[in-house]
């Protein structure tokens, strides 16, 4: 009987030694996997006090990160050390062995190609084995006189750490949705109005000459003479050109003043505003046109045409030759709102460029419209005036 006991003890020692030599890691995979490790675990040989054997479990300590695996392993080792210490130191059971823990490594028990792979049944069997060992230790601790609420007994079951966030409700309440706008607002989101153009200077484009005071005795006589003389010092030819300009420009100025008067009856502020804009531009244009007529010389095509434009059809024909056929209706509007020109952004944005275009990008009508835009919106310099006289001359040719 004694020899049998010795044999059992001997076998146990051999088994222990054999198991102690095991590496406690999953066997190396047969093929190199390119996938990153999804799970980490550690092998542990659990000491069974009733048989003094070890039972290895490999499929119960899975962790998603190596660091978490190390934490779980260390916690389990601490708990086991407490139990071992109790039996060895307090209970004087020197033969009580600690559990053997392998290192944390990539878990190949989930890899079907690995010899370490565990089926669900095998994994379940390992869980049950581990729980049986735990209950045996519990039994032994209680047998030793510890109460069931003793820390050593109680911590035999230690739930794995859990992040409360993961255990949040599956149906969460909606956050308060206020009427306020969530996204930031940027000034670039909105467009700026182009209806008003305050960049244009409010400069009077009045085209009237100064008057020369007469000697006191002459005043009455002069009062009965012809209207205002522009400049007594003007040369005869210049004077003729001025007259040509005056005859055309003054008539057209009155026309545009009449348009302005008529526009007072319009109630739509927006339309009224556009009429004002158009009239203001026309007055500017007439002022510039006067300068060009006077500057072009009495025998120039421009002065001749201006002088010859006496009747209404002649006037409209004259401006149509200058500014294109589309100008006829706005030039002599039957209704105040007719004075508004349809915008042509391509032409009006840079009229000088259009007029100077030699590549055929703009047609003749577009160029004439550009002339209108240029004279209506800008005050040409002396150089520009000379150039414009040439341009106009070519239009009237």
């Amino acid at each position: 009987m004694r020899s049998l006991r010795l044999l059992v003890v001997g076998c146990a020692v051999i088994a222990t030694a054999a198991s102690a030599q095991q590496p406690l890691v999953c066997p190396a995979p047969t093929s190199v996997s390119s996938r990153p490790c999804e799970l980490y675990h550690y092998h542990v040989q659990l000491y069974r006090p009733e048989t003094k054997q070890f039972a290895e479990v490999t499929g119960v300590n899975q962790c998603a990160s190596e660091s978490a695996c190390e934490q779980v392993r260390n916690a389990q080792m601490r708990r086991n050390a407490g139990v071992v210490d109790y039996f060895k130191r307090v209970r004087q059971e020197q033969q009580y062995e600690p559990d053997r823990f392998g290192p944390c490594h990539c878990d190949l028990t989930i890899d079907k190609a690995s010899p370490a792979f565990l089926t669900d049944v095998q994994r379940l069997t390992q869980i049950r084995t581990g729980e049986d060992v735990r209950l045996r230790i519990r039994e032994k601790l209680l047998d030793a006189g510890l109460t069931s609420d003793n820390e050593l007994v109680r911590t035999l079951i230690s739930p794995p750490p859990s992040l409360p966030l993961l255990g949040g409700p599956k149906l969460v309440p909606l956050p308060n949705v206020g009427p306020a706008v969530g996204s930031a607002t940027s000034a670039d989101d909105l467009k700026s109005t182009r209806v008003t153009d305050t960049s244009k200077p409010v400069v009077i484009s009045l085209d009237l000459p100064l008057a020369d005071p007469a000697a006191p005795a002459e005043q009455v006589a002069v009062a009965e003479a012809e209207p205002v003389q522009a400049s007594s010092t003007a040369q005869p030819e210049t004077k003729e050109a001025e007259e040509a300009a005056e005859s055309f420009i003054s008539y057209e100025t009155e026309r545009i003043q009449n348009v302005l008067k008529a526009s007072s009856a319009i109630t739509d502020a927006s339309v009224k505003s556009r009429i004002f804009e158009a009239c203001q531009e026309r007055i500017q244009l007439l002022s510039n046109l006067r300068t060009l007529i006077e500057g072009s010389g009495v025998r120039s095509r421009l002065a001749t045409a201006a002088r010859g434009a006496q009747s209404e059809p002649d006037r409209v024909a004259f401006v149509s030759r200058l500014f294109g056929t589309a100008i006829a209706k706005p030039w002599a509007p039957k209704d105040a709102s007719d004075v508004i020109l349809e915008p042509l952004p391509d032409v009006e944005s840079d009229p000088e460029r259009v007029l100077r275009d030699g590549g055929g990008r703009f047609n003749d009508q577009q160029k004439r419209r550009a002339l209108y835009a240029l004279l209506a919106r800008y005050q040409p310099t002396s150089d520009q005036q000379l150039w414009l006289i040439t341009v106009i001359d070519s239009f009237l040719r």
Binding site: D149, D197, I204, S250, S270
Partner: protein, 549 residues
């Protein structure tokens, strides 16, 4: 005769003297001032020109030409009111003066300038109104900005910018229908193609949003857009969002709606009454979860404030200041797994497609109060849950591996009952106890298809030890069940519950845990306290409350 001749000469001389005006002592100064005035005028130095003409006027007051010239240079200098005074003076003193035609023209011009000033003032007012709108927008005062641009449109109905800005503001408010209408109006008003670039894409996006608002819901956890028929959000596996289900419309947040849960012990004694809080603000679950961009943004903002990150509309990860990190591994179609880096937890999901944008879980891991469960689902031909099987190792008690199965029974379109069974087989060391229980959940509906009552009853509960455990465990089991006999069911186990260990004077037990059946009902996914075998939830609704079709 000589005297007579002398007299005549004297008289003639006197007469001649009367006809010849006295020489003007200021004539030279006057002429100089007029000349200088003219020179300054030619140089367009109107202020100086005026000074010279004013000097001339002082030397020879009310000279018609000087009056006219003063009026003209004042007008040229932009001093229209003063110009008008001079023109008026001219008309008063020289109504038939030689400069009259020019004065008339000048007056017309002055009148025009007055009109122009009025218009400019109107423009300025309009611009200020417009800028106020933009300022308010910058301050995120959308209502105020909208009012400003609406007022601007009333003033200048043809200004496309005012209409465009209204559209932007409606878009910000989430009123996409109005935004679309305004953008279309802008397109009509605006003639410049450059100003309309990108408008078509914007309208297309808005119309898509409008369609989504009609047909989609939003996941209240991550804000992902889901088809109204989706059960779960496949990007975070929150849910269920069975918006048409009467069971999931039992707790609307409307006046007159109540939900009261009463639990009873096996002898019908009342254990507890719970008034369940409402769940669906605005009425039905469909309404409360209806997709709107602002709702989606609010959800995403709330999550981001909690530390979540997104890739577009898809939630990705979470971190906190303590170094905890949760990663969502998003597959091409749905969330594959969730990993908590610090605790090492891993939640796996498997799903299949059940429609456009609709994914149904085949397997999921969930954690409820630190306890991990694994569920497997099967579905009927209408994609309703037919069965749910749950397994978990009960770390809160004795580490038993517990299995629970719920079978869903439908009649027509309504869930009528759920039959649940659960149990486990314990470990050898503790005597291999085997516990089995069954429960049934039954639903009662009113004439409007609303759930009026939800009854849960534990219909059976047995626990049998296969053998007596050894040593101290035997003593412990005796404390749990003093009448325990091997291979014989524990008497009155349904009353005492499934006790599995002691902790000092406390008893540790496996509760009937229905929490993993969260997709069954929001009202009975609970853990039953020991000895409690029945739960009844009664519902009331206002008459007007109707389920979504």
């Amino acid at each position: 005769m000589r005297a007579h001749i002398l007299m005549v000469v004297l008289i003639a001389s006197a007469a001649f003297a009367q006809e010849q005006p006295a020489p003007d002592p200021n004539a030279e100064e006057f002429s100089k001032a007029v000349l200088f005035g003219r020179k300054f005028f030619e140089l367009k130095e109107y202020a100086s020109a005026y000074d010279q003409f004013a000097k001339a006027d002082s030397l020879r007051p009310d000279d018609p030409a000087v009056l006219y010239n003063m009026a003209l240079v004042l007008a040229k200098a932009g001093r229209y009111a003063e110009a008008q005074v001079k023109a008026d003076r001219y008309n008063q003193v020289h109504p038939g003066g030689v400069e009259k035609p020019n004065v008339t023209k000048l007056q017309l011009e002055l009148e025009f300038q007055r009109e122009l000033q009025k218009k400019r003032q109107g423009d300025q007012d309009y611009l200020e109104l417009f800028n106020r709108g933009k300022f308010l927008y910058g301050k995120n005062d959308i209502d105020g900005a909208l009012k400003a641009f609406q007022e601007a449109e009333q003033q200048r109905g043809s200004d496309p910018a005012a209409v465009f800005n209204q559209a932007v503001l409606y878009e910000k408010q989430g009123d996409f229908a109005k935004a679309v209408e305004r953008f279309r109006r802008f397109s009509e008003l605006e003639s410049d193609p450059a100003q309309k670039s990108g408008l078509d894409q914007r309208l297309f996006a808005l119309e898509n949003e409008i369609e989504d608002m009609k047909t989609k819901i939003v996941c209240p956890f991550c804000g992902h857009r889901l088809p109204a028929g989706a059960t779960w959000c496949h990007r975070d596996w929150h849910g269920p969002y069975v918006t048409s289900s009467p069971v999931w419309n039992t707790r609307p947040c409307v006046e007159g709606a109540t939900a009261t849960r009463s639990t009873y012990f096996v002898d019908n004694r009342l254990a507890k009454n719970d008034s369940l809080p409402c769940m669906s603000p605005g009425g039905t679950m469909r309404e409360s979860l209806r997709y709107t961009p602002s709702r989606q943004r609010a959800i995403q903002d709330a999550r981001k404030a909690e530390g979540w990150t997104y890739n577009g509309e898809i939630i990705q990860s979470w971190t906190d200041k303590q170094g905890n990190e949760v990663r969502y591994f998003q597959g091409p179609d749905y969330l594959d797994k969730i990993v908590s880096v610090s605790t090492g937890e891993l939640l796996d999901f498997e799903a299949h497609k059940a429609g456009e944008g609709v994914w149904l879980l085949d397997r999921e891991d969930i954690v409820i109060e630190g306890q991990k469960y694994t569920s497997r689902y099967t579905y009927d031909d209408k994609n309703r849950i037919a069965q749910q099987q749950v397994t978990y190792q009960n770390a809160a008690a004795c580490n038993h591996i517990i299995t629970e199965t719920a079978d869903y029974v439908y009649q027509h379109d309504a869930l009528t009952s759920v039959n649940i069974r659960g149990g486990y087989e314990g470990y050898l060391s503790e005597g291999k106890p085997k516990t089995d229980w069954q429960a049934a959940v039954a639903y009662t509906y009113d004439g409007n298809g609303r759930v009026t009552k939800e009854d849960l009853a534990v219909t059976s509960f047995t626990k049998t030890y296969d053998q007596r455990p050894h040593g101290a465990l035997r003593d412990e089991v005796s404390k749990l069940y003093n009448s325990m006999r091997a291979k014989r069911p524990i008497e009155n186990a349904i009353r005492s519950g499934d006790l599995c260990a002691t902790a000092g004077t406390l008893m540790v037990a496996n509760y009937i845990d229905l929490r993993a059946f969260y997709a069954m009902s929001p009202n009975l996914a609970i853990t039953l306290p020991l000895g409690v075998t029945r739960a009844t939830v009664t519902f009331t609704y206002p008459d007007s409350f109707r389920l979504p079709r």
